[in-house]
């Protein structure tokens, strides 16, 4: 349960048995070829895996670096969240749990959980910050159509941080029946490890796909956006043992890995944005999925090791990158994923990302949910 000094299980005593049950069940399941086979079958026949690795030819020509896009935007429900959720929902069923709870920021994890709940016949309750309920109304409607109950959270900054707190509070009251389906590589052990394992399919697939596109077989750089950091963790997992440089891209206003200090929240020790008194700061990002003040413990560890680098991108850079990718490649990324693209755009041709480099960028999701925002912000109305 530890990544160096990060990770752990900082939960109220009431949740310890529930966490232990999840840890034990996951260990058993992950070692069980039957479970793995069921998950692989769902990922393939239901969620649309493998996702393509798309060469971004026009963008590459413009930037002078070879850009490959790992297309999690093409999965069912439109983001990488489904990889994790199908794994956890199968686990919940295996554990005999009768309902799912989840927190959500942009709503993608909520939609994915609602989807998995519908698929497996498990009722779903999704906690979502009131502010996110407003700015991601489209996903709220999707969850409702899928039969999930969406609970607006009115505390604190009314975003992902508070939704997560509220989901944990609720879990305590229903720990025997409810399975808490955490959406990122955060939370108490075993969640960060488990979610990374469920997401490593991104990196493992990409690793296998790269040789067909790159003479060197592996890219020079592997780039992904980081909120809690699950798509990055899954992507990095496939490349951590290669020579590829790993780059996590955070929102300027949600840069736990880049600018955080060690702390504890939501059950784990990691890097969090805090004031001088130790109060957690509110994150601010146009990307609801990156609007989180901390980062998964493994990212904190990779940063300390120097194995991964964490950089930040502004709202404006992300918006511009989303529109640029849409117009150069016909691919409209989620505003979260656009952060990863934005760093590539900014760094290409500089010593950070020299001309001629090869770069794998994970597109964690599609931008349909962000269209209203993009139209308004990019002044295209």
């Amino acid at each position: 349960g530890r990544y160096g000094s990060y990770g752990g299980r900082y939960v109220p005593e009431s949740l310890i048995p529930a966490c232990e049950a999840v840890a034990e069940a996951f260990s058993e399941a992950w070692a069980d070829p039957g479970f793995r086979g069921s998950l692989a079958a769902l990922l393939s026949a239901y969620a649309g895996r493998p996702t393509p690795l798309t060469p971004a030819l026009r963008l590459s020509a413009e930037l002078g670096v070879t850009v490959l896009l790992k297309r999690e935007d093409l999965t069912h429900t439109g983001s990488h969240k489904i990889n994790n959720v199908l794994g956890q929902a199968l686990l919940a069923r295996r554990m005999g749990r009768t309902r799912l709870i989840a927190e959500t920021g942009a709503g993608m994890h909520g939609v994915a959980t609602a989807t998995a709940g519908a698929l497996l016949g498990l009722p779903v309750k999704v906690f979502m910050g009131e502010r996110d309920v407003e700015r991601q109304a489209h996903n709220v409607f999707r969850m409702r159509l899928l039969g999930a109950e969406v609970v607006p959270v009115t505390t604190g900054s009314r975003t992902l941080k508070d939704a997560t707190s509220e989901a944990m509070r609720h879990w305590v009251t229903d720990a025997d029946e409810a399975y808490y389906c955490v959406g990122s590589v955060i939370g108490p052990h075993p969640y960060p490890t488990m979610v990374r394992e469920f997401q490593r399919v991104i990196g493992d697939e990409a690793r296998r796909q790269c040789p067909a596109e790159l003479p060197a077989a592996t890219p020079d750089y592997v780039v992904a956006c980081v909120g809690g950091g699950s798509n990055a963790a899954g992507t990095f997992a496939g490349f951590v043992e290669t020579s590829a440089k790993l780059v996590g891209v955070e929102a300027e206003g949600g840069s736990g890995a880049a600018n955080g200090e060690i702390g504890v929240l939501h059950g784990f020790q990691s890097l969090f944005l805090q004031d001088e008194h130790g109060q957690i700061k509110e994150a601010h990002s146009i990307a609801a999925g990156l609007d989180y003040p901390g980062v998964g413990p493994e990212h904190a560890y990779l940063r300390d090791l120097g194995r991964a680098r964490y950089v930040t991108v502004s709202d404006g850079e992300a918006i511009a990158a989303a529109v640029r990718l849409a117009r150069a490649e016909g691919v409209l990324p989620a505003i979260e994923s656009a952060h990863a693209v934005a760093w590539v755009v900014r760094a290409a041709g500089t010593p950070e990302l020299p001309s001629g480099s090869t770069v794998l960028v994970t597109l964690s999701g599609r931008g349909d949910k962000d269209i209203t925002t993009l139209i308004a912000e990019a002044d295209l109305a």
């Binding site: 900082y10 109220p12 005593e13 310890i16 509070r169 720990a175 504890v264 020790q269 008194h277 130790g278």
Partner: protein, 240 residues
């Protein structure tokens, strides 16, 4: 003799330390002082509101401890806060300097206790109805001062009745520790306090106190409420 530990969120209102004296005079045996945290994940709406109110006033952990250092209270002061604050370097010294002798960290379970460095401060652990026997025994062994028995699976906050799980937990705890077992979470009325005290060594009352303070009740009024709890507990002791 049953123990009574009322709770107050430090810095919740100007002059908040006046409540401490009121608690003491009303017969409290210990006082739990919450150091407000931005993300009180274990707390229900009332104490969340208290924390937010305190933080909105500019309250910091340091300012609460400074306030405490200035008052003269003769019963033990127990700080409670979240791991993010409790694990910060120098926290233990700050507590000691303020005269705090005990500490409760609800999101710092047994397993993570090694990271806590608060020499000279007694760290009381929490036990929950879901805690299995072997773990309960370990909690009993390692807790200091008292054991905080969580009466119900849930967050802090007032409830209509004492949960059935409370008595069972208290009984289980009494078998594994000689420390006083204080029941908390959801004890809101003298009746509930009496009921709780019938199975435990005392009670912790938080949300019911804070609800009154947030609603504008002054030290005298809240002190009277605490006194009513005290009276109920004394009756239990007598009857037994």
């Amino acid at each position: 003799m049953k123990l009574l530990m009322p709770y107050i969120t430090g810095g919740v209102v100007p002059g908040w330390t006046a409540y401490l004296s009121a608690f003491e005079h009303a017969g409290a045996d210990l006082i739990e002082v919450g150091l407000p945290f931005s993300d009180p994940t274990v707390d229900g709406p009332t104490i969340q509101e208290s924390s937010d109110a305190a933080l909105a006033r500019g309250t910091t952990p340091a300012s609460v401890l400074e306030d405490l250092a200035k008052v003269r209270i003769d019963i033990p002061l127990i700080a409670s806060t979240y791991a993010n604050l409790a694990l910060r370097p120098g926290f233990g010294d700050a507590l000691t300097a303020a005269g705090v002798t005990g500490l409760i960290v609800p999101d710092l379970p047994l397993d993570e206790l090694a990271g806590l460095d608060v020499p000279g401060v007694q760290v009381s652990l929490l036990a929950s109805p879901a805690t299995p026997d072997d773990r309960l025994a370990e909690i009993g062994r390692r807790s200091q001062g008292f054991v905080y028995a969580i009466s119900v699976m849930g967050t802090t906050g007032e409830r209509d009745r004492l949960a059935p799980s409370a008595a069972a937990l208290a009984a289980r705890l009494k078998q594994v520790t000689d420390l006083p077992v204080l029941l908390g979470f959801g004890i809101s009325t003298p009746e509930q306090a009496a009921e709780a005290a019938a199975v435990a060594d005392g009670v912790i009352v938080g949300a019911a106190v804070m609800r009154r303070i947030l609603d504008g009740a002054g030290p005298a009024e809240v002190g009277a409420f605490v006194a009513s709890l005290r009276a109920a507990l004394s009756l239990v002791a007598l009857v037994r």
